[in-house]
């Protein structure tokens, strides 16, 4: 008997129990907890009305489509996950639902800005148009301040090189229609088409300016017809029922593992708790907005984590049946199972990464939670599951293999 191992195991159990107890409140907190999406909690519901053109030309469906594309892009650039953007062609309106927006007024301002981007010299002459700008990104400059990085098209690069050479030491105005957005001083001629506007106080401010600069201008001007807070789109009662059902499902998985795998089943259940904690805290840390698709990704990764445990214990059984001792069986079983699982996990992770990179909206949400789940599953298995298994089989060399569900007589 190794009393040390028993002591360590008891300490681990207590530690995990304490972490679980301390985690519940911050994770489900309605303000600071894991943010929930439109379907689960609701958000801001906006209706933007397209204003009739001043010159009297009618607003076409094509204009509405263009406006929708630009607004969708702006919404995505704002970092709002899985927004809903719908057009009402008959009434020339745009319906926008946003989840987890901290400052709805600011979001609205950015969404409905229709203005055209121009660069002007101090005399007010337009020297460069928004079309010449290829990209604008908010970020951090070399001195640590917040900046907007501009990238010009090849044509824009030549024009920008010319004008920065001419305007050195003077101010270059960046205008949205006739509104001055910012007017940085030209310090050096910029010949490579990569410029940096410095002097932003926060990253948010820089990022918001970048959104406005890069997303192009709306073909029609928009006004807010409506703005209000709305509840979850999935029925709240029905959702609560589903959450309860999901918990029953999890309890069943726990019982199944206990009955089928006995001692390792305990280890598996314990590992799954640790795994879920890791995943949920990562969601919390990265402010992953949970929606139904996100939960689907999480469910799949739970399935994969359970599978990982099953693969380990089945392999351990095989190793013991092949004549290895319990300890050797656990060691080789674990490493062989790991080889098996790594290929499956990597393949699925590749799929998740691809969906995250190329997908939009709900597809991104799904890929994100799946990706996090896969990494967490591997991490938990290598660190926690293996440690606990080793400690457990290390308790006594004479441990009965039936505790591992192995019948020696086979």
């Amino acid at each position: 008997m190794r009393r040390g191992n028993i002591f360590k195991l008891v300490a681990l159990v207590l530690l995990v129990a304490a972490v679980v107890a301390l985690s519940i409140k911050p994770l489900v907190d309605s303000v600071k907890g894991i943010p929930l999406g439109l379907d689960l909690r609701g958000g801001v519901h906006l209706v933007l009305q397209a204003e009739p053109n001043k010159n009297g030309t009618p607003i076409t469906n094509d204009d509405m489509d263009k406006a929708k594309a630009i607004i969708s892009k702006r919404v995505n650039d704002l970092g709002v996950s899985e927004p809903i953007v719908q057009t009402d062609y008959a009434k020339k309106r745009m319906v926008i639902d946003l989840a987890g927006v901290t400052d709805p007024d600011k979001a609205v301002d950015i969404l409905k800005t229709t203005a055209k981007l121009t660069f002007r010299d101090p005399q007010g002459n337009v020297v460069l148009q928004g079309d010449d700008l290829k990209d604008a990104k908010g970020g951090q400059g070399q001195d640590g301040g917040y900046v907007v990085n501009l990238t010009f098209s090849s044509e824009g690069t030549t024009k920008f090189a010319d004008l920065t050479t001419k305007l050195i030491g003077q101010r270059l105005g960046v205008f949205l229609d006739d509104k001055l957005l910012t007017n940085p001083t030209v310090n050096v001629p910029i010949l490579n088409g990569q410029a940096e506007i410095t002097g932003y106080a926060t990253l948010d401010e820089a990022a918001n300016h970048a959104v406005l600069m890069r997303s192009g201008s709306l073909p029609v001007s928009m006004s807010i017809a409506e703005k209000r807070q709305v509840g979850a789109s999935l029925g709240v009662d029905s959702l609560n029922k589903s959450i309860k059902a999901g918990l029953y499902g999890l309890i069943f998985i726990f019982l199944f593992m206990l009955v089928f795998y006995r001692l390792p089943g305990v280890v598996a259940d314990f590992s799954l708790i640790v795994y879920a904690l890791i995943v949920l805290w990562i969601f919390w840390m990265f402010r992953v907005v949970l929606t139904l698709p996100g939960i689907a990704g999480f469910i799949l990764s739970i399935g994969m984590a359970v599978d990982f445990n099953i693969i380990i214990y089945e392999r351990v059984k095989e190793e013991i049946r092949a004549g290895k001792s319990l300890r050797a069986g656990v060691e080789s079983g674990f490493s062989r199972a790991f080889v098996t699982v790594i290929d499956a996990h990597v393949t699925t992770f590749i799929a998740a990464m691809t969906l995250y990179t190329f997908g939009t909206g709900s597809i991104k949400g799904f890929a994100m939670t799946l990706g996090i789940g896969i990494i967490a599953s591997l991490f938990t298995a290598i660190t926690f599951t293996r440690l606990v298994l080793r400690l457990t089989v290390g308790i006594s060399p004479k441990m009965n293999t039936t505790w591992f569900g192995v019948r020696r007589d086979v």
């Binding site: 719908q86 008959a90 709305v230 509840g231 029925g235 029905s238 059902a245 689907a296 499956a344 998740a352």
Partner: protein, 315 residues
């Protein structure tokens, strides 16, 4: 103490009380799958999918009641006139934002009357309605499909590097099998599809490939240890049975969790969990009965003169 050795084919057969030769019956499995897949595919071409408002757009009604209302009361009323769709409450639960399929004048009036009698009086001056376009636009769906194809390409690359090209092809065929099966069944029964269906299909996509690779790993391991004169069919059959307990246990745990959400869960997640139930079952089935069998089939045909059964060792 007995000296150990890795299990032989005969030992593997003996461990499982329900052992039968999976590989020999492979044409049966192909047939069973085709029987389910073909009606689904035909249905997809003939009647397509029953797309919900997330894909087609519909009517949006903004209605303010004279009292506090519940989401359930409204969805139940909608159901009583044969309508579905998300309902969002605001203004202290007095205003409801209802999205449902595009309504004709008659249907609209029927709904409003039903709401008035069953839920409560509403303010006619504040009633607003409009037709809205799809939330899941075509570009999003197209985007998703592209992302899936790129993902498949990359997965083929990875599996080819870690296994062999034939494994990759077999795995991808099984993947198509599972996705088409789910989509086909939804088309066949004309179950309404909303945006959560896309998530369910993605889950099936992930489960299917994960499950297949696990079994392929065992086949790869045993293939490397194959002795001269051993039949590929037997080696695959042995691999399948060595991993059978894991295959069953894993799929049972996942299916029961999903079944619990399907049976006990709320109305709004029913179709979502149903799609996953079908897909996960198919994913587990196809790893054993499709992916591995296609692998055997391709390997058998790659041999110059396949002699069927001639070489196999009798049990």
């Amino acid at each position: 103490m007995q000296t150990g050795h890795p299990a032989t084919y005969d030992e593997v057969k003996k461990i499982h009380p329900l052992y039968f030769n999976v590989v020999k019956k492979r044409y049966w499995w192909f047939a069973i799958s085709l029987v389910i897949l073909i009606p689904g595919i035909i249905s997809l071409f003939v009647q397509g999918l029953n797309l919900g408002i997330d894909f087609k757009g519909g009517t949006m009604i903004d209605i303010t009641f004279n009292k506090v209302v519940t989401q359930t009361a409204i969805t139940d009323t909608m159901k009583s006139v044969g309508l579905e769709g998300p309902v969002q409450l605001s203004n202290g639960d007095t205003t409801a934002l209802i999205r449902t399929s595009a309504l004709e004048e008659d249907k609209r009036n029927e709904l409003l009357t039903a709401l008035q009698t069953k839920v409560g009086e509403y303010d006619k001056k504040l009633l607003q309605e409009g037709k809205v376009g799809p939330a899941m636009g075509q570009e999003l769906t197209r985007n998703a499909l592209w992302a899936l194809f790129i993902a498949m390409g990359l997965m083929i690359g990875y599996i080819t590097i870690r296994f062999q090209f034939v494994y990759a092809i077999s795995g991808i065929i099984a993947l198509f099998h599972d996705v088409i099966l789910v989509v086909g069944i939804f088309s066949l029964f004309q179950w309404e599809i909303d945006s959560s269906f896309v998530a369910a299909v993605l889950t099936v996509f992930g489960y299917s490939i994960n499950d297949t690779v696990i079994i392929f790993d065992r086949i790869r391991e045993n293939e490397a240890k194959m002795k001269r004169g051993e039949a590929y069919e037997d080696m695959v059959d042995k691999s399948i049975w060595q991993t059978m307990r894991r295959s069953i246990n894993t799929v049972v745990t996942v299916l029961i969790a999903l079944l619990s959400i399907f049976v006990l869960g709320g109305e709004s997640t029913k179709m979502f969990s149903l799609a996953m139930l079908i897909g996960v079952f198919s994913g587990a089935y196809s790893s054993i009965f499709i992916a591995s069998q296609i692998l055997v089939e391709i390997k058998a045909r790659m041999k110059k003169k396949p002699r069927k059964g001639g070489k196999s060792v009798r049990a």
